[in-house]
């Protein structure tokens, strides 16, 4: 690959991949809101 194309691709893809992973990681790890929340699967979870 030529250098400008490589730099462009790597920069854009790394930024997008980082933000995707970071936001999804936050979704997975942020403490749920107290009940009643919008989600039914955790309705029996002790808070």
């Amino acid at each position: 690959m030529n250098t400008p194309a490589f730099v462009m691709m790597i920069t854009v893809e790394l930024v997008i991949t980082f933000l995707t992973v970071w936001f999804f990681y936050k979704v997975l790890t942020i403490k749920p809101k107290p009940e009643p929340d919008s989600f039914s699967e955790n309705d029996d979870d002790p808070r």
Binding site: A5, L19, E41
Partner: protein, 612 residues
């Protein structure tokens, strides 16, 4: 209040369902084609700028207005918008949010059914040993519903009905029991399939398995920046347009999904997570599959030529042949992975298209979930049939243009104005940030209020008055020639040429050239072809079909024809007839939904429950 008491099972499920809603065929078939046609690597700059200035703000607007409307028991845009401002007009603006979903689903499910069929064809080896031309013809035959490629009569129709039935069944299982389960399986699987194909595409080596170039040649072509294209309005409009299609904004499905959130729950982080997940699939995976593989085998010139007829052609006419070069086992795996990822991308989007209409019927007419799902399936099937039977007459393209393109821009523009200027940004900002699990940058207050509406006005105006050849320097107060695909150009049937009447007793040549062949193919289909060389030395061909029992050909091989010259005589029903019928059908659907909204509003008034 509504009896619609559905809820999401989990937050991850919601985000994956929203991401699945956004990820669609366009991520793999439209984005790379747009990038190739608009300056390669430089396209990504306006694309990302559009995402930041228009995509993310619209995601915030739609998520938060959906959750806001949900507080009042509304799960579709007519009354979600009405809850934000009591003026009567907004509920009819909200009709776009049901209409576009139903109309898009009608042709989208057809494409989805192609992917189902092509998974099976890849697995059973239907493409084994076929030439590139034969694989392309296979798709043409598939679209011709009277031709069977598997022995199943009316195969395209059968797969379409199966696809609708599958969507209907999943929708009848509800949010957490149906849509969410499919998203939790489909989105990770399509990412896995995408990664597999991207690795195969990028590591393609010239000289191995018939490849003539390395996969990196395609990446070079796609990513080499051409900064001069940044000054071209066409590139910016194409980038902004791609952001619309890829994020599924301006459709009403995001509002519907978000309406099942409680007011304390986050929308900001969820919106960002689903939005960026879509970008990952589109930019990182979507750019590494079709273009590197296609250029690796066919070269740049051929791929550019193929992209001129759009991504669907490249995906269904070309890719199966390229996978065949990898041997029988790997081609079956690659083919089923490719069409499998398209299928999952498609079904997670088509399911989202079902929910606004269903939510409306459940909220306003107390229909059960199963009744609503069945009604959606039935309406989509009936509305989709013309796209199957009259595909070659342009009905499919009409649906895509008016429901899948223009409606989205109009609705997004109006909802942005409602949110920022009518509902008011102070209230709007509170809705976006209420319960937020991330800090939303304050600059988005300014962007949502000023930049996004202005950008949307520019996009709409650009689409409305787009000049011929995308030459914006020609636009002046003295007038200019419209592009065939501009909204005004479409309304005037500018692309129809001399055959611009519904019915005619003659058919006229649409371009100059020499009749270089008159031929027939099995199935009693008769054609003749004209060809002409343009100023750049490129040979343009045009193929005309005629029916000898109805038409008398008045040209023969070797004749020179000019545009508008009669080429055959007999009763002719021109494309414009089918195009206008498709438009009238779409308009009728829009008006019928408006009528239902009116009845729902009247019922609310009678029941004194319109105090929103």
């Amino acid at each position: 209040m509504t009896k619609n008491t559905e809820s999401w099972g989990s937050r991850v499920g919601l985000v994956l369902a929203m991401a699945g809603n956004a990820v669609g065929f366009g991520n793999f078939l439209r984005f790379p084609v747009q990038a190739v046609q608009n300056g390669g690597g430089a396209f990504i700059i306006p694309y990302l700028v559009s995402f930041l200035l228009m995509g993310i703000p619209l995601l915030f607007i739609e998520w938060s207005s959906g959750r806001f409307g949900g507080k009042f028991g509304h799960h579709s845009t007519p009354f979600i918008l009405q809850s934000m401002d009591k003026r009567w007009i907004w509920k009819y603006v909200g009709v776009f949010g049901i209409f576009s979903n139903i109309a898009i689903a009608a042709y989208y499910c057809y494409i989805e059914s192609w992917t189902m069929s092509y998974i099976i064809h890849s697995l059973i080896g239907s493409f084994d040993g076929l030439s590139q031309h034969a694989v392309a013809n296979f798709f043409t035959d598939y679209l011709d519903i009277s031709t069977s490629t598997t022995g199943i009569p009316y195969e395209a129709l059968v797969f379409f009905v199966l696809c609708i039935a599958l969507n209907t069944w999943i929708l009848s299982k509800g949010l957490s029991g149906g849509i969410e389960k499919v998203a939790k399986i489909g989105v990770p699987l399509l990412i896995v399939f995408g990664i597999f194909l991207a690795i195969k595409g990028v590591t393609l080596k010239a000289g191995i398995n018939g490849a003539i170039h390395d996969g990196t040649k395609g990446l070079n072509f796609l990513w080499t920046p051409d900064f001069t294209s940044l000054a071209n309005p066409k590139v910016w409009l194409a980038a902004a347009g791609q952001i619309f299609f890829t994020l599924s904004v301006g459709m009403g499905s995001i509002q519907c999904y978000a309406s099942f959130l409680k007011k304390r729950d986050d929308v900001a982080l969820n919106a960002m997570s689903a939005g960026w997940m879509n970008e990952f699939v589109e930019v990182v995976l979507g750019s590494a599959v079709i273009i590197p593989i296609a250029i690796g085998y066919l070269g740049i010139d051929k791929v550019v030529e193929l992209t001129n007829v759009g991504g669907l052609g490249l995906g269904f006419r070309t890719m199966p042949f390229l996978f065949e070069q990898w041997g029988p086992v790997l081609s079956a795996v690659a083919g089923s992975a490719f069409f499998g990822l398209l299928f999952f991308a498609g079904i997670t989007s088509s399911l989202a298209m079902g929910t606004p209409g269903m939510g409306f019927m459940m909220d306003e007419f107390k229909w059960s979930r199963k009744q609503s799902a069945l009604a959606f399936g039935l309406v989509v099937m009936i509305l989709g049939l013309p796209t199957i039977f009259f595909f070659n007459e342009g009905v499919f393209d009409e649906y895509d243009y008016w429901a899948g393109t223009v409606s989205l821009v109009v609705f997004a523009l109006l909802e942005a104005i409602l949110f920022s200027w009518v509902f008011g940004l102070d209230k709007g900002w509170k809705e976006i940030t209420a319960g937020a699990d991330i800090k939303v940058p304050l600059v988005y207050r300014f962007i949502i209020k000023y930049i996004t509406p202005v950008a949307l006005i520019l996009v709409f105006t650009g689409a409305l008055i787009r000049p011929a050849n995308d030459d914006w320097t020609r636009v002046s107060l003295r007038g200019w020639t419209l592009h065939n695909e501009s909204i005004l150009g479409q309304l005037q049937h500018k692309g129809a040429g001399p055959n611009n009447q519904w019915f005619s007793k003659s058919f006229y040549a649409e371009a100059p050239g020499i009749v270089d062949s008159v031929y027939s193919i099995p199935g009693d289909k008769f054609f003749f072809r004209t060809s002409a060389m343009d100023n750049s030395g490129k040979v343009n061909t045009r193929i005309y079909q005629y029916t000898p029992v109805k038409h008398q050909l008045v040209v023969e091989k070797g004749d020179i024809v000019t545009t508008g010259q009669v080429v055959y005589i007999g009763k002719v029903i021109n494309r414009v007839f089918f195009m206008d019928m498709a438009r009238m059908l779409l308009l009728t659907v829009f008006l019928l939904i408006s009528l239902l909204v009116f009845i729902a509003w009247r019922n609310r008034t009678k029941e004194r429950r319109n105090g929103i």
